[in-house]
Amino acid sequence: MINVFMQHWQELLLGFGNTLLCSVIALFFSLVIGSAFAIFEVLPYKVLHIVGRVYIEVFRNIPLLVIGMFFYVVVPQFFVTLDGFTAGTIGLTLYTSAFIAETVRAGIQAVDDGQMEGARANGMTFMQAMWHIILPQAFRYVIPPLGNQFINLVKNSSVLAFVAGFDLMYQGDAIASTTFDTFNTYIVVGILYLIITLPLSYYMRYLEKKLA
């Protein structure tokens, strides 16, 4: 195990960095996009409901691998060539955002109607009320499920391995297939994933306690 790491630390570190980078980018954008679609779903406009519904159902119900491959091999045939890292990160962002939208929507709906009414009666616009009053409370409710989504996101970033995105899993595959030491390689890879997910998991729990 130590040997695998000592001999291949450069590749592993590159993979670790790419996995971390992909996760951070996807986390940020999936949170933004997911929240936007969650708001679509609580707005009183039918068209936006349908748009939101279609988006969520499409990206939630197609395997991540298919979405990733779509951006890697299909999109380039019609629009623009995306490298594996970009294609995989876009796929991961869209896929995760659909789940986050559902989670955040549930959070928004869990906030008492009186909060919105109070804010509107106070002269605020819908978006002002959403931003300052509803979303902060909604996020407090959904921190535990959101934490799960974030951890899934980090793990799902291994989709990059399938589109040559040079992430941790890709490097692990490459090392395992040249050294044939699959056993130790994947243990090292697993531990490197834990280095990202465990602190994330603890941080979300800390946040939950702090805001409760």
Binding site: V73, Q77, F162, D173, S177, T178
Partner: protein, 277 residues
């Protein structure tokens, strides 16, 4: 520090379970593969299912077909007797060695090149197909051979766990190598413009080109890739039986017949070269 403790315990437990799993694996592979297959009258082969001409899943019948499959069937009969049963398990370049090591399969006949590195962990039969690495490009491409690839900005597509990925880094160190899951994905990536050329053994590339006339094999072979049948270390009895079967097949013409069946009609393919020992 107090918060670290549960993490450490967790990691410890994880390692313990994994090492226990490793121990039990050891045992299963120490069994005699030949005796085991004789007892069940079944030889289990790891084969490719994504590689035209060698092992390709026929979607209609749900069976895998190709040169490797026919070879496997023939060898099984010669090892276990006329009624011996050949079972085929789908593997990839990445999974075939672990599966063999775990005892999930008895032997690998899956376009596998004999290399010194691999010989450290598995035993190979004699050569049953003399392949060489080559390049597949779109017709009209400026790339004529592997030297043309050795430039900054060139991207080569290969398959994970294959020798071709390692080789091309040697022959065209300036090119970027992207490793994909299997040949189908590597070729799809080539079609999508994710790379300038796809590289692997000529036999496989000819198989792809025969279905996709817009692409062709260029530059001849730039490596020798002798394919062998792999068995786990210390399965000498099984290996000897396989070698004997191979020699017999070459002698009685069965081998040439199978080679002709699969590669006889492939334009530009050199049957003589492939049958070298």
């Amino acid at each position: 520090m107090r918060k670290l403790k549960p993490i450490l315990i967790l990691l410890g437990m994880l390692l313990l379970t994994l090492s226990l799993g490793a121990c039990s694996n050891e045992k299963s592979t120490q069994q005699n593969a030949l005796k085991r297959s004789q007892a069940s009258n079944t030889l289990t082969w790891g084969v490719k299912a994504d590689t035209r001409l060698f092992g390709l899943m026929d979607i209609k019948s749900g069976t895998i077909k190709g040169f490797d499959i026919d070879m496997g069937k023939e060898i099984t009969k010669r090892v276990l007797g006329k009624k011996g049963h050949a079972k085929f398990v789908q593997v990839t370049s990445k999974t075939r060695i672990p599966l063999l090591k775990n005892g999930n399969i008895d032997a690998i006949i899956a376009t596998m090149t004999i290399t010194p590195d691999r010989e450290k962990i598995v035993d190979f039969s004699n050569v049953y197909f003399a392949a060489g690495q080559s390049l597949l490009v779109k017709r009209g491409s400026s790339i004529k051979n592997v030297r043309d690839l050795n430039k900054d900005g060139m991207t080569v597509l290969a398959v994970k766990g294959s020798t071709s990925a390692v080789n091309v880094k040697k022959y065209a160190p300036k090119a970027k190598v992207l490793e994909l899951e299997d040949y189908a994905q590597a070729f799809t990536a080539l079609k999508s413009g994710q790379g300038d050329a796809m590289t692997t053994d000529n036999g496989i590339l000819f198989g792809v080109a025969s279905e996709n006339p817009a692409y062709h094999v260029v530059g001849g072979t730039f490596t020798n890739e002798p394919y062998g049948i792999a068995v786990d270390k210390n399965q000498t009895q099984l290996k000897n039986k396989i070698d004997k079967a191979l020699a017999d097949m070459r002698k009685d013409g069965t081998y040439q017949r199978l080679l002709q069946k699969w590669f006889g009609n492939v334009a530009g393919f050199d049957l003589k070269e492939a049958s070298q020992q």
